[in-house]
Amino acid sequence: MARELWKGNEAIAEAAVRAGCQAYFGYPITPQTELLEYMSRRMPELGRAFVQAESELGAVNMVYGAACTGVRVMSSSSSPGVSLMMEGISYIAGTEVPAVLVDVMRGGPGLGNIAPAQADYNQIVHGGGHGDYYPIVLAPASVQEAVDLTVLAFDLAEKYRSVTVVLLDGSLGQMMEPAEMPPMQPLKKEFPAWATRGAENRERRMLSSIYLNPPDQEVTNLRLLRRWKEVEANEVRFKTYYLEDAEYVVMGFGSAGRVALSAVRAARAEGIKVGLLRPITVSPFPVQAVDAAVRQCKAGLVVEMNAGQMLEDVLRVNNNRIPFEFFARMGGIVPFPDEILAEIRRLAQGKASLEGHPRDRWLERVAAQA
C-alpha cells in the first residue's frame, strides 16, 4: 500500500477500521472530533456500528457493552471527555474485556483549552479510574506511528483482555503526514469463550466486575497483576536516537519527544554528544532502557508538555544516580526545539544537579526568566 498524506485523527480512525474495529462509540470534543466524524461516515458504509452517544459516559459504556460481545471496539475523546470515561474504564478493566480508547490530549485542568498538551499522562498511565488496574498505553509521535500503534492497540487489548489507550496530543491529531495504512483485516468470526452473545447450546455466561466476596476480588486483583507482569515482560517499546555514543540523554514521549529530536540534532551539530530516548509504551514504562541510559550517560533531561508527570517515573528508575533536569511547556503550548537545545547546552556545561528536585530547579529558571 502506498504512502498517503493523512491527518492524525483520521489516520487513527482508518487504522482502527482496518484493524477490524466493529463498533465505535464517541462524543464530539476538540481536538479529536475528526476521528468521530470520520467514523460516522466510514463505519455505516461498512455495515459496522457507529453511535454518537449522549455523553462520554454513554460512549464508554456502549464500548463496555460491545466489548462484552467479544468484538473489537473503540472510543476516542480528549482530556475532559476522558475524565468522564474513567468510570467505564475501571469497569472494563475489572471485567477483563478488551477495549481501545484514543485520548487526544488538550490543555487543562478543567475546561482548559483545545491546544495540544500531555497532561493526562498520570490519569491514563497511573489509572484515573478506581481500583488496581493497569492499562496498556501507547504514545505515538508521528501519524505513521499512530496508525501502527492503533492496530497494535487492538491486538494487545485482546491478547491481555486489557484496556489499551493510544495517548497523543492535539497537534498530532491535527497534523498531516504520510502514512501507509495496514491491510484491511476481516471482522472476527470466532469469539472468545467469555463473550456474552446469547447462551445458544451452552451454559449461560456472566460478565461483571463485581466480586462481593473479598477473597474472590483478591484472586481477581492477583490475576490482573500477574497478567500485567506478562505485559511488562513482553510489550515494552521505545525508540532511541543518537544514543550509541551519547554522554547526555534526553527523554520525552509523543510530540515532546519528536520536538526534542530536533533539539538533539541541533546539539549534535554543535558537537554535544547527546541522544534521545522516546518511550513508545509509556505503560509498561521502558524501565530497562531508561536504566541503561542512566548507566551510560553523565546527565539527563526530561521534556514534557505537562508539569513533569513522566519525570517521576524516570526519577524512580534513576534513583538519584545521575543528575536529571526537566523542561516543560504547559497549558497547550508545544515547545520549540531551541528551548530544548538551551537545556541540552546546560547539561553539556555541567550545570545539571543532583540537589533537590528537577521540577523545582526548572521552576526557578522559569521565574528567573520572567
Binding site: 504512502r3 498517503e4 498524506l5 481536538p31 483549552n113 483545545i114 491546544a115 495540544p116 508521528s142 492535539g170 497537534s171 491535527q174 497534523m175 498531516m176 503526514e177 504520510p178 510530540s255 519528536r258 520536538v259 526534542a260 529530536l261 530536533s262 533539539a263 538533539v264 540534532r265 497547550g332 508545544v334 520549540f336 526545539p337 531551541d338
Partner: protein, 179 residues
C-alpha cells in the same frame, strides 16, 4: 536536509490548501513531510497559517519558530513572520494585500501582486497558486510539476475544469524571482 515553510493569511485565502499541496508534492517526490495548521484559539479568529516541513529524514518538531520560507498573504502575516524569519530566508509577499515594504535586508524577498495576477487569469481564488508558484521557483526543493500532479490528484473532481487555469497561475507566479 530540512526545509520549513510557513504559509499565512486570512481564512478563505486558501492558506491551508496551498500548504497541503506543498506537502503532497513533497510526498510525491518520496520525501518526508509534515503539515500542521495553526491550531488553537486563533483557529477560529480569522487568520490562518500552516507550517510545512519537507525533509529527507525523520522530521522532529512539526513547528518552527524561525522559518526558512514564508508566504505572507496579508499584512498581519507579514508583520508576524518577517521578524521571525531565518537570515537568508525566502519571503514571498502578496503585494496586493500588503501596504508596506519588507523592512529586513537579510532576506530574499519576492513581492507578488498575486490578487491581480489571479484575477487576470480569471479567478481571484487562485491567488494562493500564484504565490505557491513563486515560492517553488525561488526555493528549488521540489519540482513545479510535482505541485501540478498534487493539484490534479487533490483538487475535487468537480473543479478539474479549472486545472489549466491553476497551472497557469502557478507558472505566472514562478516567473517572479527574488532579487
Amino acid at each position: 536536509m530540512q526545509t520549513d515553510i510557513i504559509i499565512a493569511g486570512f481564512g478563505g485565502q486558501g492558506v491551508l490548501f496551498a500548504g497541503q499541496l506543498l506537502a503532497y508534492a513533497g510526498l510525491g517526490e518520496g520525501k518526508e513531510v509534515t503539515w500542521i495548521p495553526s491550531y488553537g484559539p486563533e483557529m477560529r479568529g480569522g487568520t490562518a497559517n500552516c507550517t510545512v516541513i519537507i525533509a529527507d529524514e525523520e522530521i522532529g518538531s512539526p513547528m518552527v519558530r524561525n522559518p526558512q520560507a514564508v508566504i505572507a498573504m496579508n499584512r498581519p502575516s507579514l508583520d508576524k513572520y518577517e521578524p521571525l524569519m531565518r537570515p537568508g530566508g525566502l519571503l514571498v509577499v502578496n503585494a496586493s494585500m500588503v501596504d508596506r515594504k519588507v523592512k529586513r535586508t537579510d532576506l530574499r524577498v519576492v513581492e507578488v501582486p498575486a490578487n491581480e495576477i489571479a484575477e487576470s487569469l480569471g479567478d481571484k481564488r487562485m491567488t494562493n497558486m500564484v504565490l505557491l508558484g513563486s515560492l517553488i521557483a525561488n526555493l528549488p526543493i521540489i519540482q513545479l510539476t510535482s505541485i501540478e500532479t498534487a493539484l490534479k490528484e487533490h483538487l475535487p473532481e468537480r473543479h478539474h475544469r479549472l486545472l489549466p487555469q491553476n497551472y497557469q497561475a502557478l507558472a505566472k507566479g514562478a516567473e517572479l524571482l527574488a532579487a
